[in-house]
């Protein structure tokens, strides 16, 4: 019998050959899940626009044109609004659309990098805890509990204020702090796989532990990993935005959306679009990633919905 979600080595039966492959079933389910489709589409659009930033907008995000500062976006009824700057300019005359697009690059970069770092850390200790149980599990649980007992934002701020903030520092600090969800989820997923017969079978045959982890455990927990990865990427993006907003993330003049909102804080009563536009961008990016993650979870393991 084919069990979607479980990967098993062996000679396929006639039923297995004729039944749709697990990949095909997944693909079919994915195409029907509107949350996944919408989220994935929006995310794809954002990524493409970020990558094509130099082509879409000819301006330099760092180019200050004080003579053209605070031009409102095109939908304002003001005489100053112009198609040259469809999203207006900020207080230093920099084109907002350009800043937005390059800001997308920053957010995506930080999101992916921090997610990768925290993913490696969290998955490693989570899988080890789930697979070996016993003392290893106890130690990992303790580590996770300790990490959960510390206020992430404050610790990040403190460390960044001591070392000095930059893109790299932010990525590493975030990566080293947000691995807890990875650890918890992967531990649980590994525990569930651990008790299945094919693990025992592999051990009986004499497979080494690293090999079992790689060939038997990994394929069966990877769907959980992908779901957590997307959610943590969104988490990292929001955290970076908050850090930059407080002035301890990416430093000016780099275009980070959080920083853009912070810089516009003082002007928001008169030119609210300055905070609305990057805010909406952040919201859409995080929303699309969350929808994608939720959709992936629904499609690969609907029983884990909560």
């Amino acid at each position: 019998m084919v069990e979607t979600g479980l990967v098993r080595a062996g000679i396929p039966t006639a039923a297995e050959i004729l039944a749709p492959s697990p990949a095909a079933v997944l693909r079919r389910r994915a195409l029907r899940h509107w949350g996944l489709l919408i989220g994935g589409t929006i995310l794809a659009i954002i990524i493409v626009m970020a990558l094509l930033a130099p082509i879409i907008s000819p301006f330099d995000p760092y180019d200050q044109q004080l003579g053209r500062k605070l031009i409102p976006p095109i939908w304002h009824a003001s005489a100053k609004a112009t198609w040259v700057h469809p999203l207006g300019t900020d207080h230093l005359g920099r084109d907002y659309l350009t800043r937005l697009l390059y800001g997308a690059q920053i957010s995506l970069l930080i999101g992916v990098s921090a997610m990768l770092i925290s993913g490696v850390i969290g998955t490693t200790i989570g899988v080890l805890a789930g697979y070996f149980g016993g003392r290893v599990d106890m130690v990992v649980n303790f580590i996770v509990t300790t990490r959960l007992s510390m206020p992430v934002v404050l610790v990040a701020l403190a460390v960044v204020s001591i070392i000095g903030s930059s893109l790299t520092v932010v990525i590493w600090v975030l990566g080293l702090l947000i691995w807890d969800r990875f650890a918890v989820v992967m531990r649980s997923a590994t525990q569930q796989v651990r008790v299945r017969e094919f693990i025992t079978a592999a051990q009986a045959v004499g497979c080494s532990t690293p090999r079992i982890l790689l060939t038997e455990v990994a394929p069966n927990v990877v769907n959980h990993l992908i779901v957590v990865a997307t959610l943590e990427m969104a988490h990292a993006i929001l955290l970076e935005a908050a850090l930059s907003f407080l002035g301890l993330g990416v430093q000016p003049p780099t275009p980070s959306w959080g920083l853009m909102i912070s810089e516009a804080k003082g002007l928001m009563f008169f030119d609210p679009w300055l905070i609305t536009i990057p805010g909406v961008a952040l919201f859409l990016l995080v929303l699309s990633i969350n929808m994608l993650g939720d959709g992936l979870r629904d499609v690969t393991a609907p029983e884990n919905r909560n």
Binding site: S149, V159, I162, R305, N306
Partner: protein, 305 residues
């Protein structure tokens, strides 16, 4: 029940100790804390003064134990930059942050639990989709941006609420909403899932078979069981809000612990930062313990372990 509490207490203590170690070593992350505090371009004699004031020239272990010993007695030393005992400053600001956190969690619970129950009782209905939309939006919206937007609309355009300061309780409404909205989705989802699962359990069928009224079935029987994980989640989320309040407090200029942390960072007052992180972490640990105990209190089955 006693053994259960003792065991949890033991683990909590161990965690708190580890956290204290980490917090202590935080200021050494750049190598020399005296230089970090003094800032760039500081004169050698200022750096030396700071070093002497905080005792950074003593052996590390001695520093740690004297710091920890002091902390246990509620003494975090004096702040070089603040010129007052750190503990006093923290004690003055902590109640404000706790008030803010409490209001925020209250808002979150008042919004999330009814929505979650409604969504579970009518799954896939309009109410359900509305609740899920609230959740999805809440999880994607950056807190600081939501706060600024609230200020714009409720404070400036509609002039409903005051924007800054912490004089009256009105000042706390917008911050509480902004802070609480971030944890609403998790609570709502958990409530919804819990109620949905509980409603299909056998004892609910028994309750209906006894002819109990639908409200009784829902609130006395279903919610009573479904709410258990929500309560401990709320306790933990309360802790997160205490830590995450720095953003809200700086925006609304509320004189709480978060704002103090912000000021300390600006002034490079690392020891105060340390003290704040340690205090909050200890509160977290306590809250997790409380959450565990609440769990056991609410679910008779758990009292055996």
């Amino acid at each position: 029940m006693l053994a259960f509490t003792a065991k949890r207490l033991g683990i909590a203590l161990l965690v708190a100790l580890t956290v204290s170690l980490i917090t202590f070593s935080m200021i050494y992350v750049s190598g020399d804390p005296a230089i970090a505090i003094a800032g760039e371009g500081a004169r050698a004699q200022d750096i030396e003064a700071i070093r002497k004031f905080y005792g950074f020239d003593r052996p590390i272990l001695e520093q740690y134990f004297s710091w920890l010993g002091g902390a246990l007695q509620g003494d975090f030393g004096r702040s070089f930059t603040l010129r007052q005992p750190v503990a006093d400053v923290i004690a003055a600001r902590l109640p404000v942050t706790i008030t803010l956190g409490a209001l925020a969690i209250a808002f979150a619970l008042l919004l999330a639990i009814p929505l979650g129950v409604l969504a579970a009782v009518r799954p896939n209905s309009i109410a359900d989709r509305f609740a899920l939309t609230v959740a999805v939006v809440g999880q994607a919206m950056p807190t600081f941006w939501f706060a600024l937007t609230l200020i714009l609309w409720l404070g400036v355009y509609w002039r409903l609420l005051p924007i800054t300061g912490s004089d009256s309780w009105l000042n706390f409404i917008m911050p509480a909403i902004a802070l609480g909205y971030y944890v609403t989705p998790a609570i709502m989802r958990l409530t919804r899932a819990g109620v949905l699962e509980v409603l299909s359990s056998d004892y609910i069928r028994t309750a209906r078979a006894k002819g109990l009224r639908p409200m009784t079935v829902l609130f006395k029987h279903a919610l009573r069981n479904a709410i258990i994980p929500v309560v401990s989640l709320a306790a933990v989320q309360f802790g997160f809000m205490l830590g995450g309040s720095i953003v809200i407090e700086t925006i609304f200029q509320i004189n709480g612990l978060g704002y103090l942390a912000w000021e300390s960072i600006q002034r490079k007052d690392l020891p105060t930062m340390q003290a704040i992180v340690l205090s909050l972490s200890v509160i977290y640990v306590l809250l997790t313990l409380v959450a565990d105990l609440l769990n056991a209190f609410l679910d008779p089955r758990l009292r055996v372990t």
